[in-house]
Amino acid sequence: MSDSYFPVGPGLGLEENFLSLDDILMSQEKLPGRAESALPRLAVLLGQGAGSAESVPEGSKLEIPLWLAKGLHDSKRRIISVELPKIYKEAWRTVFSADANVVDLHKMGPYYYGFGSQLLNFENPENPEIAQTILQATGGCSVLPISDFVCFLQTFIARFRRIMDSSQNAYNEDTSALVARLDELERALFQVGQKGLNDFQCWERGQASQITASSLVQNYGKRKLAEVDG
C-alpha cells in the first residue's frame, strides 16, 4: 500500500510545498504579532470584542496563524509586525546550543525546523536595525538570522546521531518512547531508518521470500467478520 502512495513532503525551505499536508498543518501554528494599524471590523475574528463592527485598535497584541501573518506581512504597508516565538529567541537558542538532545522538540514544535525556516521570511527590511542586522549578516557576524539558522543546523546535527542510533538499533521494540520527543521531520527520518533495518532483518531471516496476504485483504476479512457478528 505505502509503496504506491506518494504524499507531498514538506518544503523545509523558504517556501512551503503548496500541497504538503505537513506544511499546511505547520502554517496553522500561531505567531505572536502586533497590529501596526487599525483593522476595521476584524475584532470578532481575532477574538478581541463582541460586535462585528468593532475594529482591532492599532498596536494591539495578536496571535495569528503563520499563513495569515505571511499574507499580511509587507515591508511597505506596515499592517502588522511579527515577533519571534519564545522558542526561537535567544534564551532557547542558548539551551539548544548547550545540549540539543535534551529538548522535547515535539512539545516545542511539532514542526520546529519547518516553522523556524518560515520565520526567516519575516525579516523586516525597512526597519533600520534589522537592515543593519542583515548587512552584518552578509558580513558573517553572528546576528539574528545567522545565529538562528546556525541554531537549526546545530540542533539537527546534534540530534542526528541519536536518531540514527535509535532507529537502527531498536529492532522489534516499542519505539513510541523513542519518538515521543522528536519533531515531525525527525520522526519521518526515524521511520526511514527503521524501515531500512527491518527490511534487512526480514531478508536475513528469510521472510522476504514468503508471500503474505495484503494488509488490505486482511482488514477486509476482519470487517466482514465484524459485520456478521453484528
Binding site: 525551505g13 527590511p125 538570522p145 539537527f156 531508518g193 527490511d199 528469510g206
Partner: protein, 155 residues
Amino acid sequence: GDLGPFNPGLPVEVPVWLAINLKQRQKCRLIPPEWMDVGKLEEIRDQERKEATFTPMPSPYYMELTKLLLNYASDNIPRADEIRTLVKDTWDTRMAKLRLSADSFVRQQEAHAKLDNLTLMEINTTGTFLTQALDHMYKLRTNLQPGESSHSQDF
C-alpha cells in the same frame, strides 16, 4: 553466457540462482567460495577492526552469498556455524563504522564523501536514511541565501 557442459563429478561454474535451484532439486553439490573459510574470515574480521576506513571485502555480495549458501547448502560448507558468526561480526563492525563516519560527516557539514569498499547491501540498508538526512541538512543550510539576495534588492 553459455553454461556447461555438465558432467557428473566434475566442477563447473554456474550463476548462484541456478546453483541454488539445482541444489534444491538434489542434482548437485555446492563448493563454497575460496574466501568462505574460517581462517580467512577471521583475518578479514581482524583487519576490519584494525582499520579506520572500510577494508575491501572478499566479494561484493559477501552478505548475500553467505546467507544463500548457508540457508540452502549448509551441509556442503565446513564449519557453517562459525562462518555465520564471523560474517555477522564483520557486518556489525562495518555497520558501526558506517554510523560513526556518517556522524562525523554530518558534524563537519561535509558535502561529499568517498566510500570505496562498501557493498551494495550495506549502502542500501542505511542509504535512504542517510540521503534524506543530508537532504534536510542541505535545505536548512541554504535557507538563508535566497532570502538575503531578495532583501538586498528591496533597498
